[in-house]
C-alpha cells in the first residue's frame, strides 16, 4: 500500500530538473508510504555501454571490487551514492561482472541493469531516502518513484519498490495482489528467481517473463489483467518511456497530468502541486483495464 509518482519529460530543457521535481513529488507521498522509498531514473546512457546499479558494495569492499571489475573491463567507471553503486561498463562485460557479483554472496545485489536505468531504494521516510541518494541533483529523461507502507512483507530495502527484473525495466505498485504466491511458484518453475516475498516483485517478474518471450509491453500488461488477481495500480518504466495500468475494480487512486512539457503520474494530485505549469495541465484519471503508454521516439 503505497504512493506512486512518475514524471516523463517531453521537453528536454527540463531534464536537469528531473531529479528535483521527482524528489518533491516523492516527499508529498510520505503519508501513503512512510516505511521505505525508492526511485528509478532514466537517462545518460551511452551507446554500447550498460549501467548496473548495485547495492551492498561497502566501503571495505570497494577497493577489491573495483580492482576486480577493472580486470574484467578496464573502461568500467564507478559512481557511488550512499550504499548504492552504479557501474558503467561495455555491454560485452556485463555477464562477466554479473558472475563476479554473484561471488560476493547475497550481500551484494544487482538491483537494476540496462542502457539508461539507475535504481535506488532504501528504508526510511521518502524525503530522507531521496536526500541520501541526492535525487534532487540527478537529471534524466523520466523517473518513477514509490513510497511504501508495507502490507504483508517485511520493511526492508529489498522489499522497497521499484522492482527491476529485466533490462531497463522497473515496476512500482499500489494495491494488494491476491494470487501472487501461486504465480511466483509458476514463475520460479520457469526459471525466474525472486528476492522477496513481496507481491509487487511477482508482478514485475511476470511482466519481465512475458517481455522475455518477445511480447510488447502493452501486450504483457493486457495479459496481466487476466493473470494477476487483486487490486493494483502499476506504473512500469522502460528505457524509452513508461506505462500505467489499473485493475478492473480500480479502487486504488491514480491521477495523471499532461502538458506540452511532460506527463506526470501520481497516486494523488498533491504530488503535482509543485510541477511547472500544472495550473494549465490536462488532469485526468487513467481508466481501469486500459494500458496507457508514453514513449520517447527512439
Amino acid at each position: 500500500m503505497c504512493g506512486i509518482v512518475g514524471l516523463f519529460l517531453k521537453n528536454p530543457a527540463l531534464q536537469p530538473q528531473l531529479g528535483a521535481l521527482t524528489a518533491q513529488m516523492l516527499k508529498t507521498m510520505t503519508e501513503r508510504g512512510p516505511d521505505s522509498a525508492g526511485f528509478a531514473i532514466y537517462g545518460g546512457g551511452a551507446h554500447g555501454r550498460t549501467k548496473m546499479t548495485l547495492r551492498g558494495v561497502t566501503e571495505a569492499l570497494r577497493p577489491d571490487f573495483e580492482k576486480s571489475v577493472l580486470s574484467l573491463s578496464d573502461s568500467a567507471t564507478f559512481s557511488y551514492r550512499d550504499d548504492h553503486l552504479v557501474v558503467s561498463c561495455p555491454d560485452d562485460a556485463v555477464s562477466a561482472i554479473r558472475e563476479l557479483v554473484a561471488g560476493y554472496g547475497s550481500d551484494v545485489r544487482i538491483v537494476s541493469s540496462g542502457d539508461s536505468i539507475e535504481l535506488y531504494k532504501g528504508v526510511g521516510l521518502p524525503e530522507d531516502v531521496a536526500a541520501r541518494f541526492q535525487l534532487a541533483e540527478m537529471s534524466g529523461t523520466h523517473a518513477i518513484g514509490h513510497t511504501r507502507m508495507a502490507t504483508e512483507s517485511a520493511v526492508t530495502t529489498a522489499g522497497a519498490h521499484p522492482f527491476s527484473t529485466g533490462p531497463d525495466q522497473c515496476l512500482v505498485h499500489n494495491g494488494s495482489l491476491s494470487n501472487h504466491n501461486t504465480l511466483r511458484r509458476q514463475l520460479v518453475r520457469d526459471g525466474l528467481s525472486f528476492e522477496t516475498e513481496n507481491d509487487s516483485e511477482v508482478a514485475a517478474g511476470y511482466l519481465s517473463w512475458r517481455l522475455s518471450r518477445g511480447e510488447r509491453l502493452d501486450e504483457a500488461l493486457t495479459a496481466s489483467l487476466s493473470d494477476l488477481d487483486g487490486f493494483y495500480t502499476f506504473v512500469v518504466g522502460t528505457r524509452d518511456g513508461f506505462a500505467v495500468l489499473r485493475d478492473p475494480v480500480a479502487c486504488k487512486p491514480a491521477v495523471m497530468a499532461e502538458t506540452d512539457d511532460y506527463v506526470a503520474f501520481a497516486s494523488e494530485y498533491r504530488a503535482f502541486a509543485g510541477l511547472p505549469g500544472i495550473e494549465s495541465a490536462t488532469v485526468f484519471e487513467p481508466e481501469p483495464q486500459r494500458v496507457y503508454h508514453w514513449e520517447h521516439a527512439a
Binding site: C251, E268, Y269, R270, A273, E285, E287, P288
Partner: protein, 232 residues
C-alpha cells in the same frame, strides 16, 4: 477573479493548516463567504460544516472535500479527489472540473454538481442526495444506490446501478452496461419533472430532459428467489 472575490474572507492553505481552516469554517458563529486559496490537492478541505456559508476552493481538492456537509455551499474551481461530498446531508457542492471516484458516496441530501466527468462509483450507496454530472460517469456508478437521483448528461460506464435500491438514474448518452437488477424504466411525468428541476437547479440549460432515459431497480433482488441466484 479577484474583483468578484474581494468581499470574501480568505484562507490561504500555504499559510494555514487544514485543521485551522476547518476549525474556522466549523465555528458556531461563522457567516458569509470564504475563499480558500492554494488547496493543492490537500485532503478533508471544508469537511463537517454546519453553517449556510459560501466557500470557494480555488484549485484542486484532495480526498473528501465537503465531506458530511450540512447547509454550506462549496464551489471547487478545479478537480476533486476521491469521495467528494461523501455522506453530504444538505447544502451543495459544485465541482468545476472532474471528480475522482466515489463522488457523493452515501450522501443523504443536498445537491452535488460535477461540471466535468466523474470517476468510478459515482453516487455509490447514495441515500437521498441529488447528483448532476455534466460529463460522464465511470463504472459501477450508483452501486447499491438507495434513494435520490443521479443525472448523467454524458455517458455511463459499466455496471450502472448495480444492486440498485430505490434511487433514480437519468442518462442522456450511452450506458456501457447495466448492473445486476438495474433496468430502463419508462420516464413518467413525475420523473420528467424531477429531472427538469435538477437540470435547472444545476444550471444546465443546454440539455433537454426529453433526451434522457430513466433507469431504476428491477426489484428482483429485493427478496431472494432461486431463479435470480446468478445476480447475487
Amino acid at each position: 477573479m479577484s474583483a468578484t472575490l474581494s468581499n470574501h474572507q480568505a484562507i490561504d492553505l500555504r499559510e494555514s493548516t487544514i485543521r485551522e481552516l476547518n476549525a474556522v469554517l466549523q465555528s458556531e458563529d461563522v457567516t458569509g463567504s470564504w475563499l480558500v486559496s492554494h488547496p493543492e490537492g490537500r485532503h478533508s478541505i471544508a469537511v463537517g460544516l454546519t453553517a449556510p456559508i459560501d466557500i470557494i476552493i480555488d484549485g484542486q481538492a484532495g480526498y473528501y472535500a465537503g465531506g458530511m456537509n450540512q447547509h454550506a455551499n462549496l464551489v471547487i474551481k478545479g478537480n476533486a479527489g476521491p469521495g467528494v461530498a461523501e455522506n453530504m446531508m444538505s447544502g451543495s457542492v459544485r465541482i468545476e472540473g472532474n471528480a475522482s471516484m466515489a463522488a457523493g458516496a452515501t450522501a443523504h441530501g443536498g445537491l452535488l454538481v460535477i461540471e466535468g466527468d466523474a470517476g468510478a462509483r459515482c453516487g455509490i450507496s447514495m441515500k437521498g442526495v441529488n447528483i448532476v454530472v455534466r460529463g460522464s460517469v465511470g463504472h459501477m456508478s450508483a452501486f447499491m444506490a438507495q434513494s435520490g437521483n443521479l443525472v448523467v448528461c454524458g455517458d455511463a460506464g459499466d455496471a450502472l446501478g448495480d444492486s440498485l435500491y430505490e434511487a433514480r438514474i437519468f442518462v442522456r448518452g450511452t450506458v456501457k452496461s447495466l448492473g445486476a437488477d438495474c433496468e430502463e424504466k419508462d420516464m413518467s411525468a413525475e420523473d420528467l419533472q424531477i429531472l427538469r428541476g435538477l437540470l435547472e437547479e444545476a444550471g444546465i440549460t443546454e440539455y433537454s430532459a426529453e433526451h434522457f432515459r430513466c433507469y431504476g431497480s428491477a426489484r428482483r433482488l429485493y427478496n431472494f428467489h432461486v431463479d435470480n441466484a446468478a445476480a447475487y
